[in-house]
């Protein structure tokens, strides 16, 4: 559905993306994971026909994004990062306007349909300027879905939303992603894990990793990490835990909790819990610690640096 080959974009002397190549299959939800300024938005803007690349090729639904830009734009639904909306229009008028621009035969009906999909029917007659950030995000998403696009490109769809809305939007994306190809960008690892079938990690204009979220996690995380918190002094306990078979490392954190690592597939947590209780400690917390995006980046960039040497 989406095919990108050697895509490069320069802004003046700065190279935003450097010969990116990737593909997205039909019906796949592909996540673009990376820090701000990594080139996610640039790539998406090229794929939506907003701007041409400096070099390289990209096709969406079989159409070239430069030579057949209009065909591409007809088939893509796009939610830009800034969620640009006409604040002086009502939600319904805005959707009707966008539907008219796309020559939808039953524009008003479609506007009602997508409003229902994003749960904004009762705000249809309200001015967009009066909507909260979360509602605007949903209006933007509704706009992207108007023409039942084959490809959906969402730039940071959950940024700036409150936690309940984030859950809603993620569910919505999973829902609409069932029958279409979705490319979404995020800098939140858990989001990529929850929504995406496959993740591309992009940094400074390069793809530095590409895999399913599970594999990525497994590949990156040589050891699993867990955190243990007990009431009172834990120094003595640290020594006991260190003796458990399979434990690789135990660190006492400044707040008194203990962080320990163990080999994947060799879960020592039940043993740790037993020992803590047997030794007379009040067990307050025992949880697995996921790897943060920052850590993944450090890991990946370290890998890259060492392989280049």
């Amino acid at each position: 559905m989406i095919k990108v080959e050697g895509l490069t974009k320069d802004y003046g002397a700065r190279r935003a993306i450097d010969s990116l190549s990737f593909e997205a299959e039909q019906g796949e939800i592909l996540g673009f994971l990376g820090p701000n300024g990594a080139g996610k938005t640039t790539t998406m803007r090229i794929l939506t026909g907003y701007m041409p690349p400096t070099s390289g090729q990209a096709t969406v639904a079989g159409y070239d994004v430069v030579a057949e830009s209009l065909e591409v734009r007809r088939r893509v639904g796009y939610l830009p990062e800034t969620v640009p909306l006409y604040t002086d229009m009502t939600v319904f008028d805005y959707l009707k306007f966008m539907a008219d621009l796309r020559h939808l035969p039953n524009a008003e009906e479609r506007a009602d349909d997508v409003l229902e999909m994003v749960g904004l029917e009762e705000r249809a007659e309200g001015y967009i300027g009066n909507l909260s950030k979360g509602m605007r995000q949903r209006v933007g998403l509704a706009q992207a879905l108007l023409h039942r696009p084959e490809v959906l490109i969402l730039d940071e769809p959950t940024i700036g939303l409150d936690p309940a809305q984030v859950v809603d939007v993620r569910k919505m994306i999973r829902e609409v992603g069932k029958e279409r190809t979705v490319l979404l960008s995020t800098h939140i690892l858990t989001e990529a894990q929850q929504i995406c079938d496959r993740v591309l990690i992009i940094n400074q204009g390069h793809i530095i990793a590409e895999d399913t979220p599970e594999n990525l996690q497994a590949r990156l995380v040589g050891a699993e990490t867990a955190l243990l918190r007990v009431r009172g002094d834990s120094d003595e306990l640290a020594g006991k835990i260190r003796k458990i078979q399979g434990i690789q490392n135990v660190n006492a954190k400044p707040d008194g909790s203990l962080e320990f690592q163990f080999a994947p597939g060799q879960d020592v947590r039940p043993e740790v819990a037993r020992i803590a209780i047997k030794s007379g400690y009040d067990l307050l917390e025992l949880r697995q610690v996921g790897m943060s995006l920052e850590e993944i980046f450090l890991e990946l960039t370290r890998d890259n640096a060492s392989s280049e040497k």
């Binding site: 907003y50 701007m51 640009p84 909306l85 604040t87 002086d88 621009l101």
Partner: protein, 248 residues
């Protein structure tokens, strides 16, 4: 055509909730009304000292184009500059629209709004027609009003083109005003000074094609071509500016 119409309709409607558009419409119509009243009063006072002279449609069309110098930039400054500032340009540029359709649609929306004001202003010549005997020169009125419409089209074309170059409305306003002042008055000045090429400068001057032609009741093809070319040039500049932004 359909896309142009969709864009134009939105722009046109927007004028009715925009304070600037109301101020423009109000100022134009109030000023014309005052001038109309003064003119009628003046002619009735002097009816006996200058028998046979009666006011015609140019008491409206003459000042009208002058008012357009200020009001056209006010109507066009928002069009593309604001789209750029609000980021909604990204929406239009990723919709299945050609760049020129956006620019022409914006222009058409503003033009239809000015046309509405022009239509309302027709009340003055109609009133005048009832006041003077045997009625006003209707050929002159048609030519003069055609002139106002053509000048409007050209001013708005220039305004849309310049609005596409900026993302700040105020900058767009003053830049448009400057260009219009140059094309309307300044470019004709050399015609009075130089010996060779005076005709050339006179041809470039916008007001020459109005005051010395359409507003005297003469409809020349060259005047139509002049104003329509200027409109097209403005729209072309606007389209190029929108395209250029994509490449940046």
């Amino acid at each position: 055509m359909r896309n142009i119409w969709t864009i134009a309709r939105r722009e046109y409607k927007l004028n009715f909730i925009s304070p600037i558009a109301y101020v423009v419409a109000f100022l134009i119509l109030i000023t014309l009304g005052v001038l109309f009243t003064l003119n009628v009063w003046f002619f009735t006072q002097n009816a006996f000292s200058a028998p046979g002279s009666a006011p015609d449609a140019t008491i409206i069309t003459g000042p009208f184009v002058f008012l357009l110098v200020l009001s056209a930039p006010a109507l066009t400054m928002r069009l593309l500059a604001d789209e750029q500032r609000m980021g909604t340009m990204e929406l239009l540029l990723t919709a299945p629209l050609r760049d020129w359709e956006i620019v022409v649609g914006k222009w058409l929306g503003a033009f239809l709004f000015l046309l509405t004001i022009i239509l309302v202003s027709l009340i003055f010549p109609i009133l005048l027609n009832g006041m003077v005997s045997p009625g006003i020169d209707q050929g002159l009125m048609v030519a003069a009003y055609l002139g106002v419409i053509l000048v409007s089209a050209a001013f708005l074309g220039i305004g849309v083109g310049i609005s596409a170059l900026f993302s700040n409305q105020l900058t767009a306003f003053f830049a448009t005003l400057a260009v219009i002042v140059v094309l309307w008055w300044l470019i004709g000045f050399p015609a009075d000074v130089v010996h060779t090429g005076a005709d050339f400068f006179r041809y470039l001057s916008m007001n020459e094609h109005f005051y010395n032609s359409l507003n005297t009741g003469v409809i020349n093809l060259s005047d139509l071509v002049y104003y329509l070319s200027l409109t097209a040039l403005g729209l072309f500049v606007g389209t190029s500016a929108v395209e250029m932004r994509r490449w940046r």
